[in-house]
């Protein structure tokens, strides 16, 4: 209760104070300056600046262009120092390398399947880096393009297997024919692509041989012809491409079968049939011309011609195809007679 009821003794003590002096009756306070109606007019400069600020291009320049310019300026000034640039680029490459050289990305060995020792050696030498190295350093597309440049390789499948193995599955070209041309002998596959060079025909006696300009581009046709040759295959010496458009089959004894440019296969089958029936190729024929369809033309050999000429009583032909001098012929005949008599 003591807090609520005032202490009378204390009040009596303070009551000793003198009465505060009263202000004399004052004149009414002077009227405040009359409140002018506010006329907020912008100055001409403020007005123009406001209008300028509302101009879209100025606004955009100030809001985007200026900060961008300042940022570019700061960065440019900071980068103008050579050592800072080197520091930054060195740091960046260091980080990149440390990630690339992690064990997970390392390639330790290379496996090659389906390649002959020569191709295997070539493939290993084409690898641009020495193993082990990071898989980031091996450009598989580039490596494949380079491997594909090898003639002996038909296709190659390169990939990096888990465990750091660079696997190459190689399909090699199979040589099916020898091609003799002015610069040497080459092995061709069935599409006519070069596989390798050969030093002589005896390297691959099992393969047929073709010759002539452009023969490689018609290898497929040549293979068909060789397959169709069948019974005359033992006598077949080779195929000659003539004029880059048709084939000549060259047999032993200098015989030639001249095939037409179009449809050589039926023509060849026909001459084989004729040969089987009449043994045409066993006779003394220089060449058989099958180029005109339905009219095989034969050129007789020298002995056959002379036999006919003798039977007709004509002058015989010499080795050069010209008629012999009658005197010389007589002498020859006499010599022969002497020989038979003797």
């Amino acid at each position: 209760m003591s807090g609520l009821t005032p202490d009378l003794r204390e009040q009596a003590a303070y009551g000793q104070r003198p009465v505060p002096a009263r202000n004399p009756a004052a004149r009414p306070a002077p009227p405040q300056a009359r409140l002018q109606p506010r006329d907020p007019a912008p100055s001409r400069l403020a007005y123009r600046l406001h209008r300028l600020w509302l101009t879209p291009i100025i606004r955009k320049l100030t809001r985007v262009g200026l900060p961008a310019f300042v940022a570019a300026l700061v960065v440019g000034v900071w980068l103008s120092d050579e050592t800072r640039r080197a520091q930054i680029s060195g740091g960046l490459t260091g980080i990149v390398e440390s990630i690339q050289n992690r064990d997970e990305f390392m390639v330790t060995m290379m496996t090659i399947e389906g390649a002959s020792p020569v191709v295997d050696r070539g493939l290993r030498s084409m690898l641009p880096v020495t193993l082990p190295s990071s898989s980031f350093d091996i450009d598989l597309v580039d490596l494949r393009a380079r491997v594909m440049k090898l003639d002996a390789v038909e296709s190659v499948e390169l990939r990096i297997k888990p465990g750091g193995v660079l696997s190459a599955v190689v399909t090699e070209r199979v040589p099916v024919v020898l091609w003799r041309h002015a610069r040497g002998i080459e092995l061709l596959d069935k599409t006519g692509h070069r596989v390798a060079s050969a030093t002589s025909r005896d390297v691959r006696p099992d393969l047929p041989i073709i010759a002539g300009e452009g023969a490689d581009r018609a290898t497929a046709e040549a293979m068909l012809l060789v397959d169709a040759a069948g019974p005359i295959l033992p006598r077949l010496r080779g195929l000659v491409r003539v004029g880059e458009r048709r084939w000549d089959l060259v047999l032993d004894h200098g015989q030639r079968i001249m095939l037409p440019a179009e449809d050589p296969l039926p023509a060849l089958e026909r001459i084989i049939a004729i040969d089987r029936a009449q043994d045409v190729l066993g006779r003394d024929l220089g060449s058989i011309d099958l180029r005109a369809e339905g009219r095989p033309t034969v050129r007789l050999g020298l002995d056959a011609q002379n036999a006919i000429r003798r039977a007709r009583g004509q002058v015989e032909l010499g080795e050069d195809g010209k008629p012999l001098d009658p005197a010389a012929q007589k002498a020859k005949l006499a010599g022969e007679a002497r020989k038979t008599n003797g």
Partner: protein, 434 residues
């Protein structure tokens, strides 16, 4: 000026400036081009006013304007700067083109008639131009400039009352034209004032005309009506029939005079008088008004003076004679215009002064029975505070901007006027620049 207006329309933003005696209002309009109607909302083309939108509106106390004319150029320029800047701030865009209206400058109406023979037997575009050019121009007086010139009526042979005579067959083409002239110096003051604010003036209109456009509804414009714009310094009168203004005038008397009367009669400051007029003003005294005491207030420092109060009846006794005087002058103007002969004599009161209570009864007694208090049309995007009758001329100016009407807006310019003028202009430009 017309090219300027075209340019502004292309840019899509234009400001409308109503320079009045008591306030200056600025609306910033954005044109989205036609075809932005929202038919689905049930809002049709709405008399062609749906193609623009108000994106900024500002108003400020007018300075340096008396009787609707610019008196102190620097003060008015500051006021224009203020109002344009605040409207721009609200709109967030910069405006370069301004269409302004003037209420004062002693407008005078003329009715002109022209008459030509048609060669082709059919009215062509050029014939319309020729007949407009053939109107006999009276002597307007020194220093007068044509503000509006509008063809009101066309007649082909005996068929009168055509709005658009093109393609009509006939031998003679006659036209009636209404020409409104104003004082050239006042218009020049306005032009220089606006140019000093870095703005391009794209058009000038008469405030009486544009407030009629905003306040009269379509039927009233068609059947005949008068719009009385009770402004601060000037009371504008415009008469419409068949959707054309046929007469406009302005009386140099307005609401400021009422305020001044109150200030003198009650010996108060102008601001106090304005406040009392606005809050307690009236025109019809009743018995209750004798008992309703109005504290005058004041800050003179004299207790007796500051504590005075007057009855509302006293206030009405001061205001009513002055309003009667204004309406008498309006009556004289309407009589001079021959308003009594119109088929429908609708009178629409608008402007800030039309908000005095009891004005419609008084005006009906003095001017005729068909009196109503008109508020301006609603336009899209306008703030509610700017839809009061005092903004009738600003809103009407916006409507006029959206649908300009002048002598050659609807019709082509006569061909012979083109080359000479442009050549002369080119020559003048060369001479000025080299």
């Amino acid at each position: 000026m017309r090219n300027m207006r075209r340019q502004a329309m292309q840019r899509g933003v234009i400001a409308v400036l109503d320079i009045g005696t008591t306030k200056i209002a600025c609306l910033i309009l954005q044109f989205d081009g036609p075809g932005v109607f929202r038919e689905t909302d049930g809002v049709g083309p709405m008399a062609g006013q749906s193609n623009f939108r108000v994106i900024g509106a500002a108003t400020t106390r007018s300075r340096g304007v008396r009787f609707g004319e610019i008196e102190t150029m620097a003060e008015t320029e500051r006021a224009i700067r203020t109002v344009v800047q605040s409207a721009q701030k609200i709109a967030g865009v910069r405006v370069d083109h301004v269409i302004a209206c003037l209420s004062g400058a002693r407008p005078a109406s003329y009715g002109l008639a022209g008459d030509i023979a048609i060669d082709a037997g059919k009215v062509s575009e050029q014939d319309v131009a020729r007949v407009l050019a053939s109107c006999e121009v009276p002597d307007f007086g020194r220093g007068r400039e044509v503000l509006h010139a509008q063809p009101v009526n066309f007649a082909v042979d005996s068929r009168s009352g055509l709005l658009d005579p093109r393609e009509h067959s006939g031998n003679r083409l006659a036209c009636d034209m209404h020409v409104l002239t104003i004082d050239g110096d006042a218009a020049g003051n306005l032009v220089s004032c606006i140019q000093r604010c870095d703005l391009e003036l794209a058009g000038v209109a008469s405030a009486s005309y544009v407030s009629g456009l905003a306040s009269l509804v379509e039927d009233e414009q068609e059947l005949g009506g008068a719009c009385i714009d009770l402004g601060g310094g000037v009371t504008g009168v415009s008469v419409f029939i068949r959707k054309h203004m046929i007469f406009a005038d302005a009386a140099r008397i307005g609401g400021d005079l009422i305020t001044m009367d109150i200030a003198k009669g009650l010996r108060t400051s102008h601001a106090t008088a304005e406040r009392i007029k606005t809050l307690h003003g009236g025109l019809e005294a009743t018995g209750r008004d004798d008992r309703e005491m109005i504290e005058l207030g004041g800050d003179t420092g004299d207790w007796e003076t500051d504590r005075r109060s007057v009855s509302r009846a006293d206030l009405i006794g001061i205001m009513r004679p002055r309003v009667e005087e204004i309406l008498e002058q309006v009556r004289d103007i309407l009589d001079a215009a021959g308003f009594d002969y119109l088929p429908s004599r609708q009178i629409v009161l608008t402007g800030g002064g039309s908000q005095i209570p009891g004005l419609d009864a008084l005006a009906a007694r003095m001017l005729g029975q068909n009196v109503r208090i008109g508020r301006p049309l609603r336009i899209q995007g306008l703030a509610h505070s700017a839809t009061a009758p005092g903004f009738a001329s600003a809103i009407g100016l916006a409507l006029l901007t959206a649908h300009p009407q002048d002598e050659w807006w609807d019709f082509e310019m006569p061909a012979e006027k083109y080359p000479a003028r442009s050549l002369r202009r080119a020559y003048r430009w060369f001479r000025n620049n080299w």
